[in-house]
Every structure is written in structure tokens, then in C-alpha cells.
Symmetry: C2
């Protein structure tokens, strides 16, 4: 951790999507490392931003409410930053099919805007892009390395490929240092808990905490690879701190693949409430189901030394503890926007 | 050819970019097969559209001047079509770096618009997308199959990946039959001849016909794979006529890879004029240079039986004959827009 402190202490870090799930956990880690943190977030009600996510560090971060689609704001906001963690995104697979243009504007066009803003106003910045396993689509076998073909099953996966490759391209031709971490299912505290649209493990946790039914579609045997958010934040910091990561894309993963059904059982066990029911696969979900996903993160481990530290059991415990203590901040927003 | 006549005769075909190079050659072939052809073209001065390209078939095609970025027009224009050849595009690699947002609007967002238009207004249409070898970027070895990693070296290649994958996705989840041909260097009659920005072999031909210097950057040893436009048109017709191509991406190629330097020598020999000079690689071109490119088109040949028929020598002869007869229609537009 001392290396990370040396890297980030006193440095200027911008986090797009910084009031969201991963962004806010990252902001807390950067603040703890004495970085000067600026958060950009649009607080779109249906997305993951929540002002409570920075509770306790409000006086150590600067919050700028803005949308990454607002090119003029981004042109200004990128200036003078040492690090730009580019996490703002539309993350729902289903929503990307219902409204593909919004997904394109946020995940594709805005990424280009941010990179153009850096090209003209801050070419010395280091950038990290949050890629996704959804870029691979239906996998041809596991574990999946970075060489696996990308054949997305939804609009989100396609736009994320474009967003990622703009970063790699601007690294390669303009020397703006950028890399991408392709994230798998990330869970943990500060995840939005009002709908099932963004990350199903946290949604399972809500259902179990509410003693509701957790629906498992089909046999639930498909494997998923989970990362506790603290491990993901650590990976992002280590990726940015290394000078060997730029121009590269990396998988990260949890090293403990678990079936969807088994995950639900673990959630019920940790919560001591909730129950599981098998259901038919809804056709719109079946079409975009990707099969097993297990990340091979050897490439990233070898270059940075990163490995995930938190087991699924530990992570679930930490997550449930957090939401038990802060339930009213996540179960509904109080404005009825999306509850 | 009788199979193609059976497939297209009396059928309604829309060609976006239909006044351009490949689009107009395709329109002529479809008209000869007695298809009802509608051409959509924006006639943007800097691009490849030219009304003279449909000289002689004006009374057999319908021309609708419109831009694929105009979602409302496309919503209407896709209706009732049996076949949509989706060829409109920004094709300049360099321009995609100078103005990446225009490239994104045309090659990425407009493709999504056209597919959404089909999804809601004509889900029974069959679509063909014009992909590009630029999607692969710098190759890791030749020949290149469709399984080769896609690592583009310019914004155009990234947006083309997205445009292509929207087609495959809409095929897979909405049943709108679509496939993509990844084209390599295409040359021949009706190519725009006013700048070097869109396809260098035709530009070499202009320089030689004008008895000018053809500049070869570096050693000119990098291999290119050329397709005469007539062979490309045939591939497009055969791809659309087969029911086994949908949901698939295919390379096409000429089967006769030639170095850039050797190509220039052939052009000079065919024209009987022009001369070659070696130059330093300009840095902005060096950065996006892809190295050798040779397509492996086995997958497409096996499914459709297509092979290229026109040798480079024959194709160069046909091309030079065409421009000798129609030089004034291509050397400048007369409006001074881009001459």
C-alpha cells in the first residue's frame, strides 16, 4: 500500500461516475491515499449514483454534477488531472436493447469526447477505462483470456468494445496513457439496490434481506466469476500505478467461479432469510445469456502482482453488514424515481 | 448468374451509398438482374458519390438524396425492401482521426439507426454490411481469418467493428437477417479520383495517368490484397442470395497479394506513364500503417462458392480504360468543392 500512497498522494484524480458503485469505493480509497479527488457524476435517477456513497468523505472530495455526454464540461474538467478513472457508464444489458442510442451516447461517444478532451487539453493524463466481460459475449470455453474473440450479445457489449478501443488507440497514436480492465460481476457495498437491472448478485442480496423469492432461470448452472468491489478498486489503483499497463487490456476475476444457483444459496445462507425458486428463462434474457464466464487474469497478475483477496463468503458478509446498517439509503430513493 | 437473377429479379433493393464507388457498381449489377433499385446517397462533396456513376441506368433506378444520419428518412426508406445493402460510410482512415465524431455518426450511430428502423418497420429485410480489413488493424500474421483479433489502428476501424456487430446482434436477437463482408482494398471504375484519401490504388492510377510522381513511403514492401470492384459486387450478391450467410462475418480478398511498391510498378506499366519515387513515411501515416494484409477468404468461398475472377492486371486495364473514356467526370467536380 505504501507504493500506492507514493503514487497517488497529492495527485489529482478525476473519477467519472464517481458517485456510483465502483466509483465511490474508488473515491474512498483514493481519499485515504491522500489524492485530490474530483468526482463527476450525473446522478441520473435510474443509474447507480448516490450522494450517500461518499458519506464521511464529503470534505475530502470535490463533487461536480455533470454528464460525460456534455462535451464542453468534460473539456474543462479533464484539465490538470494526473489520473482519470473513466467509470461512468450505462451498465444494463437489457436497457441497452430497449434504448440503444442512450447506451451509444454514454458508452461510446462520450468516451471519444473524453479522449479528445485529453488530447487537446491534457495529453499527459493517465486514463483507466472500465471494460466488461460483456465484450466477449457468449464464451467459447473457459477460462477466458484477453485473446478470446469478442462477440457481444447486446448493444452494451458492442459499445463497450468501441469505448475501450478508443482508449487503446489514443494511447497508441497520441501517447495519452490509457489501459482497460475488463470487469466481471462486481458486488459489494454502495451498489444501487433499487432494481435488478445492474448486477444481479446485489439484487439477490436485497431479495434475501427482504425475505423474498430469489428467482433462478433455467437450471442456474452457468458459471459466474465474482469480484468484491474492494478487490476491483485495488486492481484499478495498481493498474494506474504501473507504467507497464498502458496500451493494454486486462481481465480481472475472482478466481472462484460459482454457478448462479449456488451463489443464490450462499446469499440465503449469509442472510438467514429469503428462498430460491426455479423459473423458466424469460425469452429476452435467454437471448442475451452468455453461458459460463470465468476470467483468466494471469496477464494482469503477472504485470502488477494483483490477486483478489476477498472470498465470496467474506464479501457477502461485508456486503450484508453494510446494507443492514444503511438500508434506508439504498432501498428507495424517497423520490419515487425508480423504486 | 441465373441463380442470382431468380433471387433478385423483381425484388426491392435499397443501397445506402449507392452513388458511391461500390454502391453504384452494385446498382448497375442489380438493375441488370431486373431488381427494383433505390439508391440513398447524401452526395457529400468530399465523399465518393457521383451522379455520373449511374449514367446509362438513370431510368432503371430511383435516387433518393438523403443522409443515413437522418433517422426519420431512414425510418421511411427501409420499408418494403427485400434487400438492404448498407454501404454508406466514411472511409478515410486519416479523416477518422481528424474528425472522429463524424466517423462515429456515420459508421456507428447511423448503422444502429438503420437496424432500429428495420426492427420496427421491416424486420423481414435482409441486410449486408460493408466491413473492412481495417477492423483487424495491425495483423499478427497472414493470411488473416475471421478469427484474427481485432485491434484497429484508427477510429474508423473501431466504429466499423461497432457498425458490423450491431448487424450481427440484430440478426441474432431480432431475426433481422444480416451479414458482413470485410472488404480489403477495392479498386476499379467509378471510384472517386479527386483525393488520395479513399483508396490508394485508384489514386496511383490517377497519378500515373497524369504522368505524375507516385510516392512510395518507406520500402513499400508491405503486402496488400486487392479486389476488383466487379468481384466485390459479385460477392455481395452471392452473400445476400444465400440463406446460410446470415449472422456471419466473412473476409473477401483477391488471392494475389502484392506489395505496395510492386502495385505502383504495375500501374505505371499499364498506364505507360507516371514514375515512382521513394519517400520517408509521414509520421501520421506511419502510426496507422497496418503492415501486411492478406485475407483468408476460405470461409466465404466454402459457403457461397465465390472466388475472385479478375486478376490485378486485367482489373487495372479495365480501370484505366474507364477513366480514359470518362476522365472529365472524375478528375474534378467542377464545383471546386474538393478538387
Amino acid at each position: 500500500m505504501s507504493d500506492l500512497r507514493k503514487c497517488f498522494s497529492g495527485k489529482d484524480a478525476l473519477i467519472t461516475g464517481g458517485l456510483g458503485f465502483i466509483g465511490s469505493n474508488l473515491a474512498r480509497a483514493l481519499a485515504a491515499l491522500d489524492a485530490r479527488v474530483t468526482i463527476v457524476d450525473s446522478l441520473i435517477p435510474a443509474y447507480g449514483g448516490n450522494m450517500f456513497n461518499i458519506h464521511g468523505i464529503e470534505d475530502r472530495v470535490t463533487v461536480n454534477i455533470s454528464d460525460v455526454r456534455d462535451r464542453s464540461s468534460m473539456n474543462y474538467l479533464v484539465r490538470g488531472r494526473d489520473f482519470i478513472f473513466n467509470l461512468a457508464g450505462q451498465v444494463s444489458h437489457i436497457d441497452s436493447l430497449i434504448d440503444p442510442f442512450t447506451d451509444l451516447e454514454i458508452n461510446c461517444r462520450s468516451q471519444l469526447s473524453i479522449l479528445e478532451a485529453c488530447r487537446w487539453n491534457n495529453p499527459g493524463a493517465k486514463l483507466l477505462f472500465a471494460g466488461t466481460r460483456g465484450q466477449y459475449g457468449k464464451t467459447l470455453g473457459t477460462p477466458v483470456t484477453e485473446e478470446h474473440l469478442m462477440r457481444p450479445t447486446d448493444v452494451n457489449g458492442i459499445n463497450k468494445i468501441a469505448g475501450e478501443w478508443y482508449h487503446i488507440l489514443y494511447n497508441n497514436i497520441y501517447g495519452i496513457r490509457a489501459c482497460s480492465l475488463r470487469l466481471t460481476n462486481t458486488y459489494g457495498p454502495r451498489h444501487h439496490m433499487r432494481t435488478s437491472r445492474q448486477g444481479y448478485l446485489n439484487w439477490f442480496i436485497r431479495l434475501a434481506m427482504d425475505d423474498q423469492v430469489i428467482p433462478i432461470y433455467g437450471d442456474g448452472a452457468q458459471l459466474r466469476d465474482f469480484n468484491f468491489v474492494g478487490d476491483v478498486v485495488q486492481a484499478m489503483l495498481m493498474a494506474m500505478a504501473s507504467d507497464e499497463t498502458y496500451g493494454q487490456v486486462y481481465n480481472i476475476g475472482g478466481g472462484q467461479p460459482v454457478s448462479v444457483a449456488r451463489t443464490a444459496e450462499k446469499v440465503v445462507a449469509v442472510c438467514g432469510s429469503g428462498r430460491i425458486e426455479r423459473r423458466e428463462f424469460p425469452p429476452e434474457k435467454k437471448k442475451i445469456e452468455i453461458g459460463d464466464y470465468v476470467a483468466d487474469f494471469t496477464k494482469f497478475r503477472e504485470i502488477t502482482g494483483w490477486t483478489p483477496k476477498i472470498t465470496l463468503e467474506e464479501g457477502l458478509g461485508l456486503t450484508v453488514d453494510y446494507y443492514r446498517a444503511n438500508r434506508e439509503r439504498y432501498w428507495s430513493r424517497g423520490d419515487g424515481s425508480d423504486s
